[in-house]
Structure formats: C-alpha cells, structure tokens
Symmetry: C2
DNA sequence: GCCAATCTAATGTCAGACAATTAGATTTCC
DNA sequence: GGAAATCTAATTGTCTGACATTAGATTGGC
C-alpha cells in the first residue's frame, strides 16, 4: 500500500481511501487490527498526524474503531445495523434540509416505500409490533401533546410498521426515509381535527395489519399520504399568503 | 461552543459532534465559512491538530469541504444527491458484507422496494429511461459477457427503472438497495439458460413500463425475484454439497 | 486602466515530545 | 505456591512549533 506523493489530493484522503478499499474489498476483515499509527506512517511515508487524520475519517464512517493501551490500535469495525441506520438518518435528513426538496417529493417517496412494506408486514407483524403501534396511537390522542411530540410518535408508529415486515435490511433502508421526514413534518401545525383524522387512519392501518390484509393496509397508507399532502399544501399556502 | 474536558470521549469526536449538530440544526448554513483552524482551536481550547482531526471527520461525511489559500477555510457543504448516494451505497454494501445477511433477505428487500417504484415508473418513465433499459437488455444478450459485467448491466437496468419514477429522493434511497446487491449477485454463476430467462423477464418489465401498466410491471418484478431466489438457492446448495 | 510581482492568510504537512491508558509480565508478600 | 500489587512496554491522544503550499488580495510599474 503506497500513496501518490505527486497527486494533488491530500495525503490523508488518499490513505483513507486506500484503507477503505481494503476493507470494502475484503483484504481487511472484521476485527482485524491495522498496523499501529507509527507503522502506517512508515509504510505510507508520511507523518503520524497525517495518518491520524486518515484514521479519523474512517472512524467517522464507523469503518474502524480505536482502542488505547498496550494491545490497542485501530480495528476494522463490524458495521452494525444500528450504526448504519444512524448514518442513513443523518445523511437523509441533511440531504432533504439542504436541497430544498419539496414536501411533496419527500412525502411521496416515504409513502411509496412504506406501501412496499405493507404486504410483508401484514403477513409477518408480531403482536409486539401491533402493540407498539396501538401504544403510539394512544399517545397521539393524548390532550396537550405538542406538535413535535405528535410527529415523533408518528415516526415511531411508522417504524413499527416497517419493522413488522421482519426484514432487517428493509428496516435499515427505510429508517432514513421515515426519520428524515420528521423535520419537514415539524413545520406543520396540527389542529385537533387534523390529528383526529390522522389517528383514525393510523387505526385503520393497525386494524388492517392485525387482520393480515395487505390491500387494506396499502389503501390506508395511500389515504394517509393524501391527507398529509393536503395538510401540507394548506399550511404552505396559508404561509405564502400572509408571511 | 465549548467541550467537556473531563469527558472520557476524544476531544476531536466531541468537537466534530458539536459542529455536526450546528449544521444539522441549521445554526450553520450551506456555504457558510467556519472559523479558521487556529480560531477553532482557541474557541475549544485544544491544539490545532485536534481541531483538524475533528474537521477531517466531518469532511469524511461530506458535511464540510476545505479550501486552501488566503480566503480558504472550511465551508459547510451542500450535500448533493450524488455524494449522498455514494455514501449510501458504501454503507449498504458494507452492512451486507459484514453481517452475514442472507441472499434471501437482501434480495427480498431489494425487490420489495423496487416493486414500490413500479406504479410511479409506469406513469412517469421517459423515453430516455426506456432506452437505457433496452440498451442494457441488449448488452446482457451479448455473447462472451462476463458474469460480473452481466451483473453490472443488471444493476444499471434496475437503476433506470427506479429513476423512471421521477422522484430523486426515491432514487437516492434505492441506490443503496440496488447497488449493494451486486457483490452478492457476483457470487452466482449464470448459465446461458439463466441469462436468457432473466433477459426475458427484463423485457417483460420494459414492455410493461412502456405500456404504462403498473400491475404487470410489479408482477414481472415478482417473477424476476422468484427466478433470482431460485437461482441463488441452487448455486448455494450445489456449493454446500461439494465444497 | 491593466498586468505582473508581491503579500498574506489559510490549510497541509512534518518532527519530536509528553500524557494517558491498558494488557501482560514481573515481583513481592503471605 | 498462589495471589495481589507493581512495573513495563506498547499504543493512542494531545500538544508545541515550525515550514510548505496555495490562492486570493494588494500593490506597484507602465
């Protein structure tokens, strides 16, 4: 492993790339220990701080973890579903907030993906998932709930729906889509009547899943999407009218 | 912005978190310039190398970019769809390769998500998307194509299908699901007969999209999923039988 | 007024040092 | 002889101070 000392790119970026490739392509396996920083700096013919910057880049992506002490060092990290989801959510949230993505587009994407889970979830959801969903529905009906808390509960409800599909890869993929919508949803003010309609739709979703009816679940999700889109249109129209 | 000098966590990690939060929560907006490294090291009361490690962590997530020169510095980066997709793909690929995810689970997730795109894609796909799909189908029929190239073309075909839905958020979300399957697909050896069956299904998908028939598209995708799963089962069974 | 040389502020890199942490080896005491 | 305490070595985390490199801003000459 060498780097190009004539390349315009930073050494630390090159080194990080080289190591990342080794991991992705399997030359470095999970839990394997990388050479110490001193050894790496010799191998790549750069100073230790430069190597360290490269390692920090990899640590930021959860590709490695570091440990201090005698038998310490940098180890190839097993990327857990948890860590991957967290990254997904951060990336998705930023993508939406920084690119003036319309509420409509994001909402469409989210509900399209959720509808995809409906058949699997109707077939496989456990009693636990149903219980979670019912609990969130109950919470959503509590008086005095802030809009933010209402949205958070909405997200929890939908994540239970997705998890019900019993496919961890699917859960991971959808985490970003569901969670990243929350900041957008938080821009909406929900009247009591709005909440009642949403809760009713949540109930019909939970009922359909309990009855293992995929079609009805998908239909209810479509209705909820329409409701959400209409709500957002009204809010944004009102805001545009009198700023 | 201060850090906790008594915390067990690395300073550089704390600093990176503090700045990341500022970006996510909108206190730092796109293209805004961060204080110089020297100023940051004063603010946080740490040395410059420590600040630099923190900045490299953020750069690894494409949250900031740095520029040298007199008016240089670190700037909040607009997270582009491209960069976000690239991250998504890396994360998804690693997640699958490191967690012994079964072919079955990954394949199910991928096709479930793709089926979700079928209605939108049938409605909105442009001539360009159809042309891309036809071109990939043609390539897949070429004799002498390696298995790897066949898989790559398969991925390109499916990405065209997803892009046809005309929702960039959806395209971004699915990029990971589609691309991360490639290494798993590459473990399969495709006989001429296998390829012919897959190509026929690709053609029926393209036909259905051209005719704007959402149901048929979804059905063809389901058939392709069944075909792929069967193929994988055979390959893995044969490999288990005589290692 | 325009162009080239210079200035300047910022990041990129280096060298060397010390502190903190931790596992394992060694020693000491019972 | 065994267990607890201590020591040692390896490694990461951090600091200081310096120099190199880059690219915009400034200034001077014509």
């Amino acid at each position: 492993m060498k780097i190009d000392h004539d390349s315009p790119a930073d050494y630390s970026a090159q080194i990080a790339s080289a190591i990342r490739d080794s991991i992705v392509e399997g030359r470095l396996i999970v839990d394997e220990r990388l050479p110490s920083e001193a050894e790496l700096s010799e191998q790549f013919e750069v100073s230790r701080p430069t190597v360290r910057e490269a390692l920090k880049r990899l640590a930021a992506q959860s590709l490695i973890r570091t440990q201090r002490g005698a038998t310490g060092g940098a180890f190839v990290n097993r990327l857990s579903y948890e860590a991957a989801q967290a990254q997904q959510i951060t990336t998705s949230t930023l993508l939406l907030s920084m690119n003036a993505v319309s509420f409509e587009t994001a909402c469409e994407a989210r509900f399209t993906l959720e509808r995809a889970c409906a058949p699997l979830s109707a077939q496989r959801r456990s009693a636990d998932h149903l219980a979670s969903m019912r609990a969130e529905i109950h919470r959503q009906g509590q008086p005095g709930l802030t809009d933010e808390a209402f949205c958070a509960s909405d997200v929890a409800f939908h994540r239970a729906l997705v998890d019900g599909a019993g496919n961890p890869v699917l859960s991971y993929q959808l985490a970003g889509a569901v969670e990243a919508m929350q900041p957008l949803m938080n821009m909406i003010t929900f009247t009591a009547r709005d909440r009642a309609r949403i809760i009713a739709l949540h109930e019909s979703i939970a009922d359909a899943l309990e009855a293992a009816e995929a079609e009805k679940t998908a239909a209810a999700l479509t209705a909820l999407e329409a409701e959400t889109q209409a709500l957002a249109r009204d809010v944004f129209a009102a805001r545009a009218a009198k700023p």
